[in-house]
């Protein structure tokens, strides 16, 4: 695969990217490194994994991280109920060792996303979403998978990946990730898009919306992001929601009145709405 080929596939998927992102994706793919994507909420970090799954024609396996996530939810778990039933059924059996061996075989193993991704015959895209929400212990647990592409299950042994997945990790920087994890990944930081890219995204995602409205929304969103007083900056997803809502309302032009009535689609707390429309902040397009 060449960089131009990757760009061509991204174009075919109608994904709006810049030169930097395309190069980073190419480097991560060629080096076989997990890709760590950081950036504010709503800039399209998760979307990259989804698009890559589509572009590479692979299955997307998603692991959503949260506080308290452990290996029984992420890697594997034994099917205790089924094991107990098997013990009950085979109570009279003489071959106890055979039964024990059978109880800890694939038949009683519940695959979770990580195990599924490395045991899949066809390579997949593994999305480990919001890794910063998981505990530090879980991060340490991921190291073996990320560097060696293998996991160790005490009862079975080490399982090597049948196919190498493309691993995408996303983080909102809620806490700093460990050096060990960072070292194993290719890194990219995604910032809010500029006007041109934002407009291109609106055009690609909402092809039927009025173009004048899309331009006005993109300009308004850029201006809102530029205001220091607004703490929760509007994301791309919110810009899309806003445009879709305005389109559904039959709005053709963003007037100050419309802005005020629909601001809730793009600004998600009262202080930010007040800051946007008070004094100097009120001169939005």
């Amino acid at each position: 695969m060449t960089l131009d080929q990757l760009k061509h596939w991204l174009d075919q998927a109608h994904y709006i990217y810049d030169e930097t992102l395309a190069t980073v994706l190419y480097v991560a793919l060629e080096l076989g490194r997990p890709l760590l994507i950081e950036g504010a909420a709503g800039v399209g970090k998760t979307e990259i994994a989804k698009v890559m799954a589509g572009v590479l024609d692979r299955e997307l396996v998603r692991l959503q991280c949260y506080e308290g996530l452990d290996e029984s939810k992420a890697l594997y778990e034994w099917n205790y109920q089924k094991q107990l039933l098997a013990i009950q059924i085979n109570r009279e059996t003489v071959d106890r060792d055979g039964l024990t061996k059978q109880l800890f075989s694939d038949e009683y193993l519940l695959e979770r996303p990580l195990l599924r991704s490395i045991r899949s015959e066809k390579p997949v895209v593994l999305l480990i979403d919001e890794i910063d929400k998981a505990d530090e212990e879980f991060e340490a647990f991921l190291l073996e998978l990320l560097s060696e592409m293998q996991v160790t299950i005490p009862e079975i042994g080490t399982i090597k990946a049948s196919s190498i997945p493309l691993v995408v990790l996303t983080s909102n920087r809620a806490r700093p990730l460990s050096e060990a994890l960072r070292r194993r990944c290719a890194y990219v930081y995604i910032d809010y898009p500029d006007l041109e890219k934002e407009l291109a995204i609106l055009r690609a995602k909402l092809p039927n919306a009025d173009d004048r409205l899309r331009v006005q929304v993109a300009q308004a969103v850029q201006k809102l992001r530029g205001q220091e007083a607004i703490l929760k900056k509007p994301s791309i997803a919110e810009a899309l929601d806003w445009t879709a809502a305005l389109e559904a309302m039959g709005v053709r032009e963003l007037t100050p009145k419309i802005l005020k009535t629909t601001a809730g689609f793009v600004l998600k707390n009262n202080d930010d709405i007040a800051a946007a429309f008070s004094g100097e902040g009120g001169d939005m397009p």
Binding site: E19, T20, A28, E136, R175, R182, Y187, A275
Partner: protein, 423 residues
């Protein structure tokens, strides 16, 4: 890849290592592989690809960009830089010759170190002219009392040179300030403009979220080191027909700290105190309870509602009548120690937010020692940049008595809060 290219790449990796990036042989090999794949025609593409390999955070990306832009230069830029460097060297040599002539007192060279002499040479011409003006203005005194004249002129020159040295030291710290998002973390808090304050507050919120996140990640309270939770284990075992496959453990109780904050709100300290208080108050994982006292000439306890936002805090400080008065740390600490029921006792961490500038320094030092006797721990958060501490006597005195942490920037304030929370 040919030998010269590899050598150059290895040299670049060494530079990155010196700058603190993780640029080991594995990364260099990856970079070489990527360059072979992508070619070297497009400079920006090469930069992006190598940045992906070498830098692992946004801060590291900025360091990488600086190193890359300085290392991989087009031939004409290198020649222009060399030319400029040679011109600069000639200019500096000329400046230093002029400085040597000017740093003469009664025909004798003044007693300054080579570093001080080069700092003088780097001063703007108008500043040097002002100093020479002093020399001329008081020349009459030289004939009446040569020693007094010599000491006076030397002290004036020494002060001006010290200020120049501080300016030069600060100029070297600007690397990370290039990024508007991160830059605010590395700038002196007292230099924030009014319009930057909301941005700074949002950064504080994000950093405190990070610190709280780190703390909760470190204390998940579900380790297996505690006692067995028998009731939950039995209940869970019902799922598997009564066999206890998975054990449940009692959460370990973590004792949080009791903090007493003593904040200097005299004039220039208000902004720093507000930021520092906001930081500490929002660390909900750190402290169980905290009490805040504000002081300048006298001391008063702050109403918790007044700390909710910057306007309320400033109004409260102005209304309390302590704003803009002289700082008397000794009296504040004495009244804190004398409070009944006692505020300072073992198990309490006293955090002092002050620049150490106080009237009657010896009394303040004695009161600090008394406070340390009452309380478990005293931590001093000082908004004066650490590179200036050596020039200020009050800072040296207080730093010798208790743990002092530099907090001139939001970044330092954040790391100070991490240290408080971890200890």
């Amino acid at each position: 890849m040919t030998e010269p290219y590899l050598e150059r790449l290895c040299a670049f990796s060494r530079i990155l290592r010196q700058e603190g990036l993780d640029a080991g042989p594995a990364q260099t090999a990856d970079a070489a592989r990527v360059l072979l794949l992508l070619g070297m025609e497009d400079r920006e593409r090469v930069k992006t690809a190598m940045r992906t390999v070498y830098s692992k955070s946004r801060e590291e990306q900025l360091i990488f960009d600086r190193c890359f832009d300085g290392f991989f230069l087009p031939q004409d830029v290198i020649e222009a830089k060399l030319r400029k460097q040679r011109e600069e060297q000639v200019r500096l040599e000329q400046q230093s010759r002029e400085a040597e002539k000017e740093l003469q007192l009664n025909g004798q060279p003044m007693d300054f170190s080579p570093e001080q002499r080069s700092a003088y040479a780097a001063m703007p011409p108008e500043a040097r002219q002002r100093l020479q003006g002093f020399l001329e203005k008081y020349r009459g005194t030289a004939e009446r009392n040569p020693k007094l004249y010599g000491d006076f002129i030397h002290s004036v020159f020494a002060r001006a040179i010290m200020e120049q040295q501080l300016l030069m030291e600060n100029a070297g710290l600007g690397g990370l300030a290039a990024d508007p998002e991160i830059g605010i973390l590395y700038r002196d808090i007292s230099q924030f403009r009014e319009e930057e304050i909301p941005k700074a507050i949002s950064i504080i919120q994000s950093v405190t979220r990070q610190i709280n996140g780190e703390l909760s990640a470190r204390n998940p309270g579900r380790g297996e080191g505690g006692k067995l939770d028998f009731r939950r284990t039995i209940r869970r075992s019902l799922e598997t027909g009564g066999s206890c496959n998975r054990l449940c453990w009692r959460k370990k109780r973590t004792r949080r700290k009791r903090l007493v904050l003593l904040c200097d709100v005299s004039g220039s300290m208000v902004q720093f105190s507000e930021f520092a208080l906001r930081f500490i108050q929002s660390l909900n994982q750190v402290s169980d309870s905290s009490r805040t006292f504000l002081f300048s000439e006298t001391m008063t306890e702050a109403d918790p509602f007044s700390l909710e936002n910057m306007d309320l805090f400033r109004d409260y400080v102005r209304r309390s009548g302590i704003y803009g008065r002289v700082t008397d740390l000794g009296s504040a600490l004495e009244s804190l120690c004398g409070k009944n029921p006692p505020v300072l006792c073992s198990g309490v961490t006293l955090i002092i937010l002050s620049d150490t500038k106080s009237v009657d320094l010896s009394r303040a030092a004695a009161a600090l020692m008394e406070a340390m006797r009452h309380t478990g721990r005293v931590i001093w958060l000082n908004p004066i940049p650490q590179n200036r501490w050596q020039y200020i006597r009050s800072v040296q005195t207080m730093a010798s008595l208790c743990q002092m942490i530099p907090c001139s920037t939001l970044q330092e304030l954040a790391s100070a809060c991490r240290r408080i929370s971890r200890s």
